[in-house]
């Protein structure tokens, strides 16, 4: 099968790759481009561990075909920190122990950033429903929800 040539923007940088029409964005990120921060927990869009943003919208990268990102803007966990400066959510997750094994953490961070961009002052219920597409089996979600709420409060204070 001949491969397709795709040019796209990932974390602000122009990237090109070859893929088959059937490959997912997650597959290309992980196995072609070496961006393994997005995780495959299910491959069916049920766990959120592969969450990315596509033109600013939160999606599961396992549900998007690689050729579809041609000419679009992709945001992954690898682009969340600015140099050695962590995003406030990343810093808060560390400080409040909002991770245990950490495999779901990239997905939660991308999803939470997307929430705070749309709603800088979410209620606990809004956080819980926004993050309902991300599975975590270690934490019981408690410290994750608290970290997102505290980050939101900090960011509002700083704004």
């Amino acid at each position: 099968m001949s491969k397709l040539h795709v040019t796209t923007t990932i974390n602000g940088e122009e990237v090109e790759f070859l893929c088959t029409p059937a490959q997912t964005v997650l597959d290309v990120l992980r196995n072609t481009l070496g961006l393994t921060g997005s995780k495959e927990g299910c491959g069916t869009g049920d766990c959120g561990a592969c969450s990315i943003t596509l033109d600013g919208r939160l999606v599961c990268s396992c549900l998007v075909l690689a050729p579809e990102i041609r000419g679009r803007k992709v945001g992954t966990i690898e682009g969340m920190a600015q140099g050695d400066r962590l995003h406030p959510l990343q810093q808060k997750f560390l400080e409040m122990a909002a991770l245990q094994c950490g495999i779901c953490t990239p997905g939660f961070l991308i999803a939470a950033r997307s929430l705070l961009e749309q709603n800088p002052d979410p209620s606990e219920t809004e956080v819980r429903y926004w993050l309902a597409g991300n599975l975590c089996r270690c934490t019981g979600y408690d410290k994750i929800v608290r970290a997102v709420l505290e980050t939101a409060a900090d960011m509002r204070g700083a704004a």
Partner: protein, 750 residues
């Protein structure tokens, strides 16, 4: 040690592995690649039960791009009549689980594997393998598997002299059970059923391995024990352990399930045949279908008590699913169910029952939640019958110092009472509850307790002082929930230096001494012990170096706040020597500074937990929601409180899933019907409230920091606590799990 004296132990420091995990850099099982790597896939049985008459791999091997094919013939054969134990695992069964030998025993059982230059070609080659099956009748449920006319999985299993699906029986006995019940004023006997639930780790099993021409093997995979990976791979491939280096990748959740392997030996054999590194990654479908969930169960519990609430006899019969091969967690329900209580007469019997399901593996406090579900529900009924508060009834009968448990232990300073008192005194227990907040909505409150043995065992650590006077600590334990953070706190505390100067790593099998599994709530207990001893040795060396420099006796040198200081009136007057100064002079004053300790740790004390929960039942939809949850547990000492709380919060939410929504469902052909996160419903963020942990710290006197263990006990009480709360809401009891909407509607008669 108490909190006031501690600078680092008990502090909420930032975990050593944190930055990598929030930036996506941490290397998990599936994140590795090796130069020249190829991909492997597994062909799985399409039948729940079938004899394998023959396997023809010729067409698959001839497909362009295919580099190697393996079947059970390539794997070490362990005859069924000779046990080969590795810890609690028997390699006779492990071998047959990794690859079907005589028989395919469940839908999804591996039959062959192919390595090829791409995953697609490997998958296509699997489809070209011709397997001749003789399909046999299958059996899935316990009640069917123990019938006299049930299809038998194994002709070598015997129960009471007859061929059977009951693989073994375990009995714990204390006193005279007949006399005990004869003396009771009230006896309650109930039967319960639970379905298997999966551990639900988000990271599927995966590995990358390389076997070179000289027979040296490197394995990169996540597990709950790199030494287990090495030992099992060695046994199943015939390669000596000294030729295998197992590197522990970051682990994306295990909860007991990653104490065994599925892929590594197959990948090693494919790598050896092909001469190429091989990568294998399970899909979620394969994880659900073919890696162990924990057991479903069928239990009967009978408890007799005096009018004043004194429990005089307790009897339990526990049928536990093993899956397709022997080895279910029978010890959990048999030993743990009655252990929290001082009961003179106990008979606890467990049966290990095989059926055509994937082989079960451990899940947090293996088997104990099943037993506690039954026992703690009967105790709730007993309390109601006797008109005694359920916590008071538990307090009255709680085990204490000197209590002999039916499983054999005589307890030391156990702290069950304190967990009950913590819940009784918590505002949650006394808080008003609006029992009927709206039409068709009812609320209730329930409590339950739980017990887990906890464990010691083999652990190794190496603590080195770097040339610039900082510290590296290496242990042999994969970190599933923040153990590195706890160890960093301990090392900084003992050496009296800033936390940021300690780096904690997990060694591979060639760089650190043998360390047993991360499991059973043992790792923080055991690794803190070996790290403490290593630090004490290093401090002795540091005092000797200072003594040498000052030309005084080592006994006249004290170590405090990260410095050597002259101690006592006769030691002389010298300015303190810091760790950095001593490290700088290390080579001229006697050589590198560091110490390792390898130990079989002992002194683990049991863990107890008591929980209270409020639920709300929607009578129209059959949905049960948890509104409030408070969980008290004695952990001995919380070296890092965040990760202790995290263990409790996470365990409770797993319990909520077990109680309300998770179950394995099979179709008539014996195929798992819900092998996805969509259809196998684990709790999501919007399903649960905040979980309030009440962390009690009553130090274990047999541990240097007082640690008991934290990870297992939180999953023991929730099933019964939630079930008791639902009864409190509805006035109707459930005797099977999960309490899913269809079942709620059935019980409500809707």
């Amino acid at each position: 040690m108490n909190a006031i004296d501690n600078k680092w132990i008990g502090q909420r420091t930032i975990r050593p592995d944190g930055a990598d995990k929030v930036t996506g850099r941490a290397g998990y099982s599936a994140d590795n690649a090796m130069p020249g790597m190829i991909w492997a896939k597994i062909l799985r049985s399409p039948h729940a039960h079938a004899n394998i008459r023959g396997i023809d791999t010729a067409k698959a091997a001839a497909l362009p791009g295919v580099k190697a094919v393996v079947t059970a013939r390539d794997i070490t054969e362990f005859p069924v009549d000779t046990p080969v134990m590795l810890g609690i695992q028997d390699m006779r069964w492990m071998s047959r689980n990794v690859m079907a030998r005589e028989k395919a025993l469940f839908h999804g059982h591996p039959v062959a594997a192919v390595a090829a230059i791409s995953e697609e070609i490997a998958a296509e080659a699997c489809r070209l393998i011709e397997v001749e099956y003789e399909v046999l009748p299958h059996v899935i449920e316990i009640e069917d598997a123990i019938r006299p006319d049930a299809p038998l999985l194994h002709d070598f299993l015997r129960h009471e002299g007859k061929p059977s699906n009951i693989a073994s029986t375990m009995v714990n006995k204390l006193g005279d059970i007949e006399a005990g019940f004869a003396s009771a004023d009230v006896i309650i006997e109930r039967s319960f059923k639970t379905r298997p639930v999966h551990q639900g780790y988000i990271e599927p099993q995966a590995c990358t391995v390389s076997c070179t021409a000289d027979g040296k093997v490197t394995i990169w995979s996540s597990s709950q024990g790199q030494f287990m990976v090495r030992a099992m791979t060695a046994l199943l491939t015939g390669i000596p352990q000294s030729s295998i280096r197992a590197i522990p990748a970051e682990i994306g959740g295990g909860f007991g399930a990653k104490t065994v392997i599925y892929l590594e030996p197959i990948a090693v054999l494919l790598s050896r045949k092909s001469g190429r590194p091989v990568k294998m990654v399970m899909s979620r479908d394969e994880v659900f279908r073919a890696t162990g969930p924990t057991s479903g169960s069928m239990s009967t519990v009978k408890i007799g008590a005096k009018k004043d609430g004194t429990i005089v006899a307790a009897q339990g019969t526990f049928h536990i699913q093993a899956g397709c091969l022997p080895g279910g967690p029978v010890r959990g329900p048999v030993g743990c169910s009655f252990a929290p209580y001082e009961i003179a007469n106990v008979l606890s019997v467990g049966y290990d029952v095989v059926s055509n399901r994937s082989k079960v593996t451990a899940y947090r406090a293996p088997g104990a939640p099943l037993g506690a579900y039954a026992t703690e529900t009967v105790i709730d009924e007993l309390a109601e019958t006797l008109g005694i508060d359920p916590l008071e009834l538990r307090l009255k009968n709680s085990a204490g110092k000197g209590t002999k448990a039916a499983y054999g232990a005589v307890f030391g300073d156990v702290t069950f009472k304190e967990t009950i008192q913590a819940i009784r005194n918590h505002p949650h227990y006394a808080a008003p509850l609006d029992r009927a907040p709206a039409k068709g909505v009812r609320r209730g409150r329930g409590v339950a307790s739980g017990f887990w043995y906890n464990a010691g065992g083999e652990s190794s650590a190496q603590l080195n002082i770097t040339e610039d006077g900082n510290v590296t600590v290496t242990t042999g334990h994969p970190d599933v929930g923040g153990s590195r953070a706890s160890i960093a706190n301990v090392a900084a505390e003992l050496l009296g230096i800033d936390h940021s100067r300690v780096s904690v790593l997990i060694g591979d099998t060639s760089s650190i001494g043998f360390s047993n599994l991360t499991g059973g709530s043992r790792v923080t207990f055991a690794s803190a012990m070996v790290v403490t001893q290593s630090a004490e040795k290093v401090i002795t060396q540091l005092r000797e170096r200072a003594a040498k420099i000052w030309k005084i006796e080592p006994e006249a040198v004290a170590w405090s706040d990260g410095e050597a200081r002259p101690a006592g009136a006769n030691a002389g007057q010298f300015p303190p020597l810091t760790l950095k100064e001593l490290a700088a002079k290390a080579n001229e004053m006697g050589g590198p500074i560091g110490a390792g300790v390898q130990l079989t740790t002992t002194g683990a004390d049991p863990g107890f937990a008591t929980h209270v929960v409020d639920v709300e039942v929607d009578e129209e939809l059959g949905i049960i929601r948890v509104l409030r949850y408070t969980a008290a547990q004695d952990v001995g000492r919380a070296l890092h409180p965040d990760y202790v709380e995290g263990q409790i919060q996470g365990g409770v939410v797993q319990g909520i899933g077990w109680a309300l929504s998770e179950e394995y469902l099979y179709d008539k052909q014996g195929r798992l019907d819900n092998a996805s996160f969509l259809d196998y419903r684990m709790p999501v963020c919007s399903d649960v409230p905040m979980i309030e942990p009440v962390v009690l710290e009553l130090p274990n006197p047999k541990h240097p920091q007082g640690v008991r263990g934290a990870g297992e006990a939180p999953l023991v009480p929730p099933l019964a606590a939630i079930s008791n709360a639902v009864y409190d809401a509805l006035g109707k009891r459930f005797y099977s799990l999960p309490m899913s909407p269809p079942k709620v509607m059935e019980v409500l008669g809707g």
